[in-house]
């Protein structure tokens, strides 16, 4: 595959880091007020890795993903993609960079145009960019459909309505890969699928990642799924990152009480699994009026006075393990002295 796209802006290969997000803030208008969906998050994605982004609905994880592909403009902050701040790009330059950053959405059926044929849907990215001749494009469509496990001869002339959710997700993935992206943002790509199909898609993503040397950001609410696909995991709560660590490390020694609670609430398919229920009470507070200090304190079993007064910064607890908590739990932190009632 020859590299047809070479935007002049993409030059500075800042080491291993493909994506460097700094102090990203995304606000929405809600009536006269402004709501912060993402309140200043900083993280990096390294070449070839999969970064998982987890949290409850409303925590801002999807907004973050959408901002990375600039479907949603950022209010402030920097999204440095190989030396270019995506937030400053407009028009053609932005569209050009976007071919390198592709997104897969949660609902595979509604993200495909129901009236178009599969081969046209998949070819679209190349048509838009006027890449290749018609036969070249057709060959590439075949290649990609085969790569995602769809038979191009049987499927090419059909329309999305004739396929199951899992197959539509495969087709979306094929389309996303047509422009030979670097970075794939997957927003809850398996949460609408049955477990057996979910496993097929997760395996497929792992295969494709290796085959096309992709870097991925994988957004999901299911920590078990995220752990399976990710090298590192970032846990989000109400617009902030609360913990970032390697996935095995995060599972072994979760340091933020929220991560601990998330892990505890996953239903394990094992009748002997003693539900060490630290099930969270309450629900996500309104982002219109987030709690002072640590945003998790209203649901945190270990919250102290200091948590209301002072916002804990995201700090390095161990190499590669960051946490935003005054009183980290687990093997890395001494649990809060005398767990006080809230």
């Amino acid at each position: 595959m020859t590299e047809t796209l070479d935007s002049g802006t993409i030059a500075n290969q800042s080491g291993d880091v493909v994506l460097d997000v700094r102090d990203l803030v995304v606000e929405f208008k809600s009536g006269r007020q402004r709501v912060q969906a993402v309140s200043g998050i900083t993280f990096q994605v390294r070449r070839g890795e999969t970064l998982g982004l987890v949290g409850e609905s409303g925590c801002g994880k999807s907004t973050t993903g959408r901002t990375l592909v600039q479907v949603q403009p950022a209010t402030s902050g920097v999204i440095d993609y190989q030396g270019t701040d995506l937030n400053t790009l407009k028009g053609r330059a932005l569209r050009q960079v976007r071919t390198k950053i592709q997104m897969i959405f949660q609902d595979p059926i509604s993200s495909l145009n129901p009236r178009r044929r599969i081969k046209d849907i998949v070819a679209e990215p190349l048509v838009i960019w006027g890449r290749g001749t018609k036969p070249e494009r057709a060959a590439k469509v075949r290649e990609m459909l085969e790569a995602v496990g769809i038979d191009p001869d049987a499927a090419g002339d059909r329309r999305p309505g004739e396929f199951s959710g899992g197959q539509c997700q495969r087709i979306s993935i094929a389309r996303a890969l047509m422009a030979e992206p670097d970075l794939l943002i997957c927003d809850e790509p398996v949460s609408a699928l049955d477990v057996s199909v979910q496993a097929q898609i997760l395996n497929l993503l792992a295969d494709l990642k290796a085959r096309f040397q992709l870097t991925m950001v994988f957004i999901a609410h299911d920590l078990a799924v995220v752990k399976n696909v990710s090298d590192r995991v970032a846990v989000m709560y109400l617009g902030k990152l609360v913990e970032v660590a390697g996935s095995d490390e995060l599972y072994r020694s979760a340091a933020h009480p929220y991560t601990e609670a998330l892990l505890a609430s996953i239903p394990e398919p094992d009748p002997d699994h003693t539900a060490n229920h630290k099930a969270l009470t309450g629900e996500l507070p309104s982002p219109l009026n987030p709690p002072s200090g640590c945003r998790f304190r209203t649901r945190c079993p270990y919250a102290q006075e200091r948590c209301a007064a002072e916002e804990p910064p995201l700090r390095e607890l161990a190499p590669g393990h960051q946490v935003a908590c005054h009183f980290p739990v687990g093997p890395l932190g001494q649990a809060a002295p005398a767990a006080a009632t809230a």
Partner: protein, 380 residues
């Protein structure tokens, strides 16, 4: 949910036949006539549920689990449905009752929690009114009594400041809170059996845990039986007494929960368990996906319906239908010619190398393209 007055027949109060199971489903079939042919969504399902017990019904989408729960309730569309078989519930034969008779049972003795609380709740009625409806209908309460009972019910399902919330509309509540309201409605008249169809699908894991805990607590307090219909084995693993696994409209395995997990007989059940990513596995561990997808229920395959996707399928499986049977323990039923024993198939070795089976022996080379076209068998 019983909405209108159904002629407050309260004859259900005298039932109380304590011996024998609370719910007996016998050879239930439900088919839908469609333009393409008859879809056999539920194809000969029998089971029982005892008073106070929890039964999990597990299956993928299209396995017939939702149609099964609706067939039991009698909540099927009026047209183009063929139902046969019987459902006995606490002395009633539900399958012989007409809608007005069913209304006296629905909500009072037998109630349902639906998956999507936004569409199941009436958007233009206050939640207090919706909870009060069945109280007034079945228990003959007046408006004030119903209101104060509704407040108590909201409190019991963990809704903060219930005195204020009874006047709220569903849209003012979050998804988890709406599901709590649904539970309050379902439990209002102290039913003996609650059918919960995917009660936590679509909710966050943290909220899911809260809702399931709540349901379990209320069940213990009130000695209700619960049928928990779900696609997620994780949800039922620690909460159900018994589990039924459905595939293509049929029960393929039924056992007490621990037995099902520790002595799985049916390869489909095993495959379903293995396809779930587990926290304890190292990240990047390859999942054991089930190749292919469930069969078309208009033209189900001959023989065992799971055979086309089963890695142990033999000729016998493709020719004749395995009956639901037991070996040893009478509680453990399964439909498989070559059940697993200690996780190993009892299928005889095949002489020729398997070529026809759609088995998904995971290609280990990670760089290999997955060209075994797993879920892409050509559509009709």
């Amino acid at each position: 949910m019983a909405r209108r007055q159904g002629g407050r027949t309260l004859e259900f109060k005298d039932v109380g036949s304590q011996d024998g199971p609370l719910l007996v489903v016998e050879d239930l079939h439900t088919s839908f006539r469609t333009a393409r042919g008859t879809v056999r969504a539920v194809d000969g399902v029998s089971f029982t549920v005892d008073e106070g017990r929890t039964l999990g019904i597990v299956g993928e989408s299209g396995s017939g689990k939702t149609v099964l729960s609706r067939s039991i309730m009698g909540l099927l569309p009026p047209r183009d449905v063929i139902r046969s078989g019987t459902v006995h519930f606490g002395g009633h034969e539900l399958t012989a009752m007409d809608e007005s008779q069913l209304r006296s049972v629905w909500g009072a003795e037998l109630s349902m929690i639906f998956q999507d609380p936004m569409t199941a709740l009436n958007p233009v009625k206050r939640i207090g009114t919706q909870i009060g409806e069945s109280l007034r209908l079945h228990l003959g309460m007046d408006k004030n009594e119903a209101r104060s009972t509704a407040v108590e019910l909201l409190r019991s399902v963990g809704i903060p400041s219930p005195e204020e919330r009874v006047r709220w509309f569903p849209f003012q509540l979050s998804g988890g809170m709406r599901q709590r309201v649904m539970i309050a409605i379902a439990l209002a008249c102290a039913p003996r059996l609650v059918m919960a169809d995917e009660p936590t699908t679509g909710l966050d894991v943290t909220v899911q845990a809260q809702i399931l805990d709540l349901l379990a607590d209320l069940q213990r307090e009130r000695h209700m039986a619960v049928i928990l219909v779900t696609h997620d084995l994780g949800v039922v693993a620690s909460r159900a007494d018994d589990i039924i696994v459905m595939y293509a409209g049929r029960v393929v395995e039924r056992a007490p929960t621990r037995t099902l997990f520790h002595d799985t007989k049916m390869p489909y059940t095993r495959a379903l368990m293995d396809s779930i990513p587990r926290l304890a596995d190292p990240s990047g561990a390859r999942l054991d996906a089930i190749a292919g997808r469930p069969p078309d229920l208009i033209h189900p395959p001959k023989g065992c319906r799971f055979a086309p996707r089963c890695q142990y399928a033999r000729d016998k499986c493709r020719e004749s239908d395995p009956p639901l049977r037991t070996v040893g323990s009478p509680d453990h039923l399964f439909a498989c010619w070559f059940p697993l024993v200690d996780g190993v198939s009892t299928a005889p070795p095949v002489k020729v190398t398997l070529t026809t089976s759609g088995s998904d022996t995971p290609q280990t080379g990670a760089t290999e393209p997955p060209d075994q076209t797993p879920d892409a068998e050509a559509a009709p």
